[in-house]
Subunit: 369 residues, 2 copies
């Protein structure tokens, strides 16, 4: 390996530039919560800084969110030339997953999704095959999550969005039927189990790195992985929709103490909870071939790989120890591999991945004001 | 005038290319409404095709929407060089207005707003002046509408969004406290009055045309209007937020029979209601200087101008005839000029602007499947 390791800064994403805006925006946003009193509505203060916003309306809780796909559609555009497929059916699922997988972390049942498809020009919508794939994939993902596709926006934004490209996002509204169903972390405690749910691949996190890596590969997206599939098509495996799992848990009377969607910052997200806990991992999920391939060819160590990619764990459920095996069994019954992978301990905020000898300290994750 | 008239097709927006996708998406979306039954929730079928989506949850109604600003930020970027101001405070208000002014058309009280700020790169967020303006404008608009800024997404999307640009959108969730408060048009009838509320200028509709026009103006955005202001700064007058007006109407016990937000398609939107009515306008609002200037310099006639721009009317309330003057008085009391401008008549679907001799037939507006 003669290349220097690739990291996020090299891949064009600089969190140092984004974070000051995020903090300023979070503080200003927080100040507006008082506006709800005029309507007899209250915000659930504990949802500020979590992955979805929750308001209490007459004893019920409405959760909402807007999430972006990111740059994964650029991969689909490039791979289409190799595969002959548009891949926008799976891109649609990715986009919806970004929204609903975050929404369910507060304990919500997603009800509706809005589409945001902003193209670089009207021409984008004239490609019938791609258009049908996008619509059909969107509809199917809604059906899997049992949500209603409530509407959307399909602007043509020449001069804002690059010609031939599309900026995809989704917003979602859900309901939490009672205060007891909120999973904002109040019940998290020493001895809780960490159940990790399998990812299907890269999901939509680490895509800038994945694209940057192509420049180093002689065969680019057509590079073959050990399992015989191409790098490009493997990257485009659609993000797992975790809604059926959380719905099945609620139906079984199991309410997790906390939930984390493992996206940006990879396994550092395991310490997303605001409290002071050590997250000790003793069992590693299988690593999808595409992520192992990325780690090897980018030349990054485990600390960097697990700190930025999902490395096989797409979703984390923090549950009472005695419910852990049942939680994993329910997920597996729905076709989602699951591992009782670790435990929550009172102690300095950190993530300790024992089998790898990797630790992330509290100051390696900044997600709240 | 040696130039041919500018129209939307010349300005790069081709609705013929967008509409087939919209129809396909609308039909697929409609099919997903049945998913709500699993949650004991029902969609309000009459909201399909309207400007916001409404679900009934235990006798209350939750409305939601996602809306895009469009390309108006490109005007701000260009005018900054002339004015020395970023104008992103007013751009923020425009973006929120796109969402809440649509949300209130179904009778909703907006509760929360999510921000979607997708930049062409991390650098966008490093411009502190612009960043503060955007955040501060967003917060102020939330305060005017008494909504909570619930969160948002600030991705850096190099390769999707143009370098140095930002794709701005907003989603909003609101509540309609009872079925009687829904303004989906069931009560619209012969003899109802049309009350038009003043726009503040171009709002965010017709911006592609406004930008195209700059190429014809020797002084570009610095061109002076008859009122002595520049074309560029006039274009950036922020979109009126109509939330205080609808809230005041509800507080006074007035529920409009129907509401239309006048955006794309200009006054053709006056026949947005699904029924068979003629909308006869007898009184014209004052035309903002910037729109009169655009009409003159683009060389377009009244049929084209009123059919694509708001021409001084940003919002239309269809109310019982005997409530019309009171509705206008309430709006004026909040600083929004208002006119009892026309009436609804049983008859062939069309908009008739009598003072101009302009008529739009039903086939000149396609907004629903």
């Amino acid at each position: 390996m003669t290349h220097p390791p690739l990291d996020y800064s090299a891949a064009g994403v600089d969190y140092n530039k984004i974070d000051p805006l995020k903090l300023l925006a979070q503080r200003s946003a927080s100040a507006t919560g008082a506006n709800l009193a005029a309507h007899g509505v209250a915000e659930v203060a504990g949802s500020r800084g979590e992955s979805a916003y929750v308001m209490e309306i007459d004893g019920r809780f409405i959760a909402s969110i807007t999430e972006c796909l990111g740059t994964k559609a650029l991969v689909a555009d490039a791979v289409r030339a190799i595969s002959g497929r548009t891949h926008y059916d799976t891109i649609a699922q990715d986009t919806i997953a970004m929204a609903v997988n975050d929404l369910i972390t507060v304990g919500a049942t997603p009800l509706s999704v809005h589409a945001y498809w902003a193209a670089g020009g009207s021409d984008w919508f004239a490609d019938e095959e791609r258009m049908h794939d996008l619509v059909e994939g969107w509809r199917k993902a809604c059906d899997v999550c049992k949500v209603s596709w409530g509407g959307g926006e399909t602007p043509a934004l020449a001069g804002v969005v690059e010609a031939g490209r599309i900026d995809l996002a989704a917003s979602s509204v859900g309901i939490v039927p009672s205060r007891e169903r909120l999973t904002l972390g109040e019940k998290m405690g020493n001895g809780d189990a960490i159940v990790l749910l399998a990812s299907s691949g890269i999901h939509a996190n680490g895509v800038s790195l994945a694209r940057k890596l192509v420049e180093r590969l002689p065969d680019g997206y057509a590079s073959l992985l050990p399992d015989g599939r191409t790098y490009g098509e493997s990257l485009l495996d659609p993000t797992t929709l975790y809604v059926p799992v959380t719905e099945a848990l609620f139906a079984a009377g199991i309410v997790p103490h906390y939930i984390a969607n493992i996206t940006g910052h990879g396994w550092r997200k395991l310490m997303r909870h605001a409290g002071e806990f050590t997250y000790r991992i003793h069992t590693l999920p299988d690593v999808p071939p595409v992520l192992r391939f990325m780690q090897e060819h980018a030349g990054i160590d485990d600390h960097e790989a697990y700190g930025s990619l999902n490395m096989g764990a797409g979703f984390a459920l923090y549950v009472a120890k005695e419910q852990a095996e049942e939680v994993a069994r329910i997920a597996r019954g729905l076709g989602v591999a699951a591992w009782v992978a670790g435990r929550v301990e009172a102690g300095a905020k950190s993530v300790v991945i024992e089998p790898l000898g990797v630790t992330y300290a509290a100051d390696e994750l900044h997600v709240r004001a």
